[in-house]
Every structure is written in C-alpha cells, then in structure tokens.
Amino acid sequence: MKHSSSSSIKKRLRLPLYAAGGAVVGFIGANGVRKVPSDLNWTLSVYYDYDLLFAVLAAAVVVMMLWNIFSLSRTPSVPPMEEDTYGESDSLISPAERSLGKAMILSGFSVIVAFTWAALALSLYASNRNMPNYPELFNLVNLIGACISIFIVVILQSLTLKRYNRYFPDRALDLNSRNMKKDHFEKLDEGEKWIVYRAAYRSFQMMNLLLGVGMLSMVLYSVLFTFAPFPIVMLSIIWIANIGIYYRETYRASNQ
C-alpha cells in the first residue's frame, strides 16, 4: 500500500517535468516556424468579430438544453418502486437514476457554457466599445442572447434539482444554501463518500495534466500569434493553488 502511494507521488511529481520538457521541445521545434501571416483571419468570424465563436457557444447551449430536457422526460417524475427498479442487479443505479444523472451533468455543463458565453460577450463589449465602426447591434443581441440563455439554463437546473430531490429526499440539494455541496456530502454514507473521494482524486490528477496542456498551448499560441503572458500566469496560479490545496489537506490530515 505504502509502495503504491509513493509510486503515485513520484508519478505526480514527474508531471511538471514532462510539461517543462514539452515546453522546451515545443519551443525549439517551433523556433523555426514563422509567425502566421497577419492577414489571416483567426477570430472565428463571418460577418462580425467572433460571431462564429458565439454561434458555436449558442448552439452548444441549445443542444445541451434539449438533451437535458430529453433526459428529464425519460426520468419518471415519481421514483419507481425500489424492488422493481434494481432487482438483484449489480448496477449501482437504476435506469431512471441514470437518466436523472445525465440530466444533472448536462444542466451543470449548460450552466458553465452559458456563463462562458456571457463572460465572452461582456469582454468583447468592453474591449470593442471605443473602437470605430463598433457593431453595437451585434454586441447588444449577443449580450441579450447570453442573458436569456443563463435565465433558461438556471430554470432548467432548478427543475432538474427538484426532480433529484424528489428521488433522494434524505439528501436533498438546496440551491439557496451557501454550503450546498458540503451539506450534500455530509449526508452521504461511507460507500458513497468513497465514490466521491475517488472521483475527486481522478479529477485532481486530470486537472494537473490539463493545466500543463493549457500552458503548452499558450506557449504555442505565443509562438504562432503574439506573446500571451496573462493566460500563462493565470494557469500557473491555478496550478499552484490546485497542488497547494492538495498538499495542505494531506499535511493537515497527517498532523491531526
């Protein structure tokens, strides 16, 4: 057990080294690459700046909302009788609970994408408003569209949570509570907590990998387009916070 944990720590420590190695190799490899010609349009635009990007985001929100509604419609509003649901199967969740789980995931994703759309729309508005030929109508429609999408996905999320609370009244989620996630975790039993611990650890490992990938892609962006220090610094801060919180928790546990 001790051996496996020490080897996993070693593997984790190697990750930043791999990232740094990748950055060096990428930099040397791309050193000879010439900058992309400035007349090339990389702003995902057709009529207005970034309109294609916003169209993709809007389409993603709509698809996820429809999928969310479809998953909710496949979830019976009243939980089926327990014995009919599970029988003697080894499955951890019933088909109805699986549909509900899908709806929960999709509603979470659609909220994130809708907020991303709004954040990007606001950023574009803030950076373009003083420019000549500023497309006021496009920005206005874009902002209103993002706000409407947030409104709809939040309503859909509250409907999904309502259905979840009907299925699991003993571990109801309260959107109005500040400690919704913490309160919910406290209501889980030991087996379910073990599932959450395992999922959280995998998510932590994946975050380390993705932050490295994100940093490398920003280096590549700088090589091809222009120097982009802010995203790299931001990623670095997030990475430090991610690792720092992990070690703080393990340090706390070992000192108890």
Partner: protein, 69 residues
C-alpha cells in the same frame, strides 16, 4: 497480495433480503451494499459489524482475506 472477499450476497439470499432492505437495516445506501458485494469497496469495521449483526454471523465468517500467504 491478500484481498478481502465477502459472502454478503449469499447471506442476503439466505435471509431473503434485498439490497435495499439490508441497506435500510444497517443505515447505509443501496449503492454501498452493491459496492461491497462487487468487491469494489471494503466496508469500515462499524459497517462490517452491523452487517454481521443483521445476519447473526461472526464478522470473519462474512469477510475473509484470500490470496497471499
């Protein structure tokens, strides 16, 4: 490497208990019972004792280490 094996499924069948009923008796979730039966999760001592109490069997008869020396 020794692994924890259990006879929860057999004992549950013997006592004609569903996973949900056993879960209610020991104050756990059905998911936890399914995890234990699949061998994915080793329960705490407290939960193992509760399971043993329901089946009226000693813990070592329900949970045993297999493999290794």
């Amino acid at each position: 490497m020794e692994e924890l094996h259990n006879h929860v499924r057999e004992l549950r069948a013997r006592d004609r208990l569903s996973q949900t009923e056993l879960a209610k008796l020991i104050g756990a979730s059905r998911q936890t019972i399914a995890l234990i039966e699949r061998g994915d999760y080793s329960p705490s001592v407290v939960l193992a004792l509760k399971i043993a109490h329901v089946f009226r069997e000693p813990v070592e008869k329900i949970f045993e280490l297999k493999g290794g020396d």
